[in-house]
Symmetry: C2
Amino acid sequence: MPLVTQQMSWQDISAVMQKHRDETYAAVEPAIPEPPKDLPLNVTGVPKQLLSEDVVSITESPTQTLIESLATGKLTSTAVTKAFLQRAGLAGKLVNCITELLPDRALARAQYLDAYLAEHKKPLGPLHGLPISVKEMVGMKGLDLNAGFVAWVGRLAPDDATILKLLWHAGCVFHARTTEPQSLMHLETSNNLYGVTLNPHNTRLTSGGSSGGEGALLGLRGSCLGIGTDIGGSIRNPAANNGLFGLRPTSMRLPMAGLSATMMGAEHIIPVIGPLSTSLAGVKTFMKAIIDQQPWLYEPSLVPLPWKDSTKATLLRTGPNGRRKLRIGVLADDGVVKPHPPILRGIATLVAALAQNNPADIEIVEFPPYKHAEAWRILSALYFADGAAEEKAAIAASGEPVRPLTEWILEATGARELSVAELWKATEARDGYKAAYGRHWNSVNTALPGPLDSDEEGVDVGAVQREEVLDGMVDVILTPTGPGCAPPLGCAKYWGYTSQWNLLDYPCLIFPTGLCAGAEEDGVEEGYTPRNERDRFNYELYKPETYTDAPISLQLVGRRWEEEKVIEALEFMLETAGMKSSV
Amino acid sequence: MPLVTQQMSWQDISAVMQKHRDETYAAVEPAIPEPPKDLPLNVTGVPKQLLSEDVVSITESPTQTLIESLATGKLTSTAVTKAFLQRAGLAGKLVNCITELLPDRALARAQYLDAYLAEHKKPLGPLHGLPISVKEMVGMKGLDLNAGFVAWVGRLAPDDATILKLLWHAGCVFHARTTEPQSLMHLETSNNLYGVTLNPHNTRLTSGGSSGGEGALLGLRGSCLGIGTDIGGSIRNPAANNGLFGLRPTSMRLPMAGLSATMMGAEHIIPVIGPLSTSLAGVKTFMKAIIDQQPWLYEPSLVPLPWKDSTKATLLRTGPNGRRKLRIGVLADDGVVKPHPPILRGIATLVAALAQNNPADIEIVEFPPYKHAEAWRILSALYFADGAAEEKAAIAASGEPVRPLTEWILEATGARELSVAELWKATEARDGYKAAYGRHWNSVNTALPGPLDSDEEGVDVGAVQREEVLDGMVDVILTPTGPGCAPPLGCAKYWGYTSQWNLLDYPCLIFPTGLCAGAEEDGVEEGYTPRNERDRFNYELYKPETYTDAPISLQLVGRRWEEEKVIEALEFMLETAGMKSSV
């Protein structure tokens, strides 16, 4: 690792880290091509022009195809790893998403796996030979673990994070580490070590955050499967901004040991780890590969829920009232900040296709929001319950500047230090809201008569006992991933569409539906009167030409620990709507 | 409810509450007999002398027999409820375990259920007609909810606790509410409203706590199934002291809404709710009746783990190495405080019977303790993280005296107010210990060679992947329930044998093995050199004559969320050892 000392200025430390990154680029063979000076706003087409046909072919294969080719030996892990190393390096040069490549480790591992397959005639595990990229804050033994703070550079991970051990045991290769923002609490990615990560679809827009390095890297196909973390949207926002699939699992499903961040030990809002992928199958394979290894035996905080291998038949089971439909609740607008036209069009288009193509098996109902502004008040008071003392100390220690979005989030949340008694009150309020939202979900029910109250009382326990009422309950919520597509740099200031589900700890799956198409399809809503200041900021942000080529992504939300159901539902929805499950 | 005002002295409030309790006794028909003045130390035989044959026959039936008789109409709920009301009232007069009886509500409910069965020819649910007793702190709509604090008298529950709603839906009757100690943080039961609850097996001993009212009531068979709560031993300790079955489930399995206590909102050490019963089947039926109703639909904090209906065949499944044995780890001594001779004899006797009667299906290994003193340091720092401000305020508000064991636990834990940053550090230490204990459990493994290290490193992840290693893992730990049987009043000052498993959040099942038999079988260990002050206190407490007739109970511990496995294991063990599953 590069040598830094406490005496160095933050600028010098950054320079050392960038030099180290560039040296890892230089160690890749064949050499990573240098991008031209004049680049279009959309750089996603650049790799195709600069890389060999073989590299393009490998890196643009669907994840599942790669896994199959690696398992059968049709492709060697060495070839696949070399291809992704090259493309990841190019992605790093194009949009600044890489903290370091790992060519030596990755190729040694790939050679081991190739030899293993040759000897044993079978793959080592379900991810045999597949390169996976990893957000920097996920510890890799002996490598830097700075979590985006200059002062933390030089902290080396004493061991691999548990999730990496399990993925390793499943046969994968780790080829790249990716950028994250200062404090990890931005829905963009910028820090004082590497600067700003850009969106490859439109480099005036943000790649999102905090797993924005992953998002941008996968958006350029420098990886087909990556690892992010999420406490307010940090997996989902970059997945959405870059047109990817991404899953925020329920807490206590995937192992968290070995990560570096502030606020370790805080359990009022629990961060989670999860996959981003260029295909839905990548998300599913990742989850299954880990959970099949019973991670709860190594981290007792995890719930021992085996992965449910099933088909959509489990959603469309026969109930007491005949064939069970997939029931989708549509929450298009959270009532606080109205989404931009492309997002609303994305939802409307999908809903229309589903309704038209399979009305027998899919039922669509409106899912009214339940006090989302209140949810943000509860959540934001809990984020920095030590008054952000740890973040401020970590920044001050090196003298690095406070990034604008760090300053903004501390202001937006208040970041007030709570006493333990206040903290307990706040967690009680959180749990009260969660219970009320659960009753609200119960009440959006096609088996109950008439429009239902969603007040504090909700449906009584007795009512929900009845099998027909369970049968009429909404399975998944279809909702935006944010109040718009990837915003211009520095403008990601409304977290509600993602953070809502962190408060509730519901599993959320992000998927792409297309790209922004300009003013003709998605004109400004003229004469709109904003509801509040946040709504005004968002309304004024929207100009069709700002968002050229920005991916329009949506979010599917399930009840806690229903990851399998959410994935199954999306598989069925994409198939029904004639949409692809791989980008 | 009785009328109290803020102006009344704590003594006057207590007098009002006791008068109310006595009025509920007086409302029971036929009249509850008055116990004689001269009572033996062991009062468990008294009800048989004072109650009618029918009442004795009903109240001494195994729980499962009662459930079956009620479901078929062989017994009416009215008859069963009347019998338990009478016996519960007598128990209250004998050992002071009742805060109020509920004759009006209970009999109205029983009549409804009898009419239901007559009309529908089937029971309302799996607990049809069965009277259940409830610890006072579990809210019942419109009834007092004081949690043992004088100042909280007059707080009426706005609704039934969720768990009561679910039990109600399963068809039960609630007939009695039971005592608890001031602060709920004693392993005994005394408060300034009702005084001290005694152990019916030996009234010089404590009934345990904090669910000591339940323990004493069930010990006298004034109930066959009751509800307690547990944050340091409060279900298990009274179950053990009174020779009952009792289950502390893993957190997030049973619903907690509607309970009253200090420290609501604290989540570093999570209290749980669970059953005490005169039979193992009672424990199992209780759990299944609730979980089959999908309580996670009403409380989103709960984990959606369906109840696993299975037989011991699932424990004795065929593994890669042939028939799977039940593997029992024996942790007889936690290394901090050595258990009294009756406890060690109880374990040795059971282990010998198991080893002798079915060596083919049961394997017994030593389970070394892993830093249990350290566990107490971590746990005790987390209990009163607000510096016990809430307890002190609740006591001061009425001017009631601080009970000696309240004072003692605040001293024993330090009860220091933490900052949020300190709290986070403490929860990190907790999680580190939990993970280390999990690795320790993995390492006590009959499939691994030689004696194993139980150091911080434990077994590596790769090792545990192997199917044969999983197969060799210990299923359950057999361990004491405390450092002795029920101690003399005021002496319950070592929590380690129960609180250890609260820190780890493992499910624990208590079961009786017999009664203390005196000096001949369980003499004092002469010449023993105590390890520390706590060990000395406990050693000096033991004189065989002190513990005449005290139940010798043991504890079976599983991994998180393995309630079904622990119950199955105990069923199999009791059957193998020729012991009864009902007292």
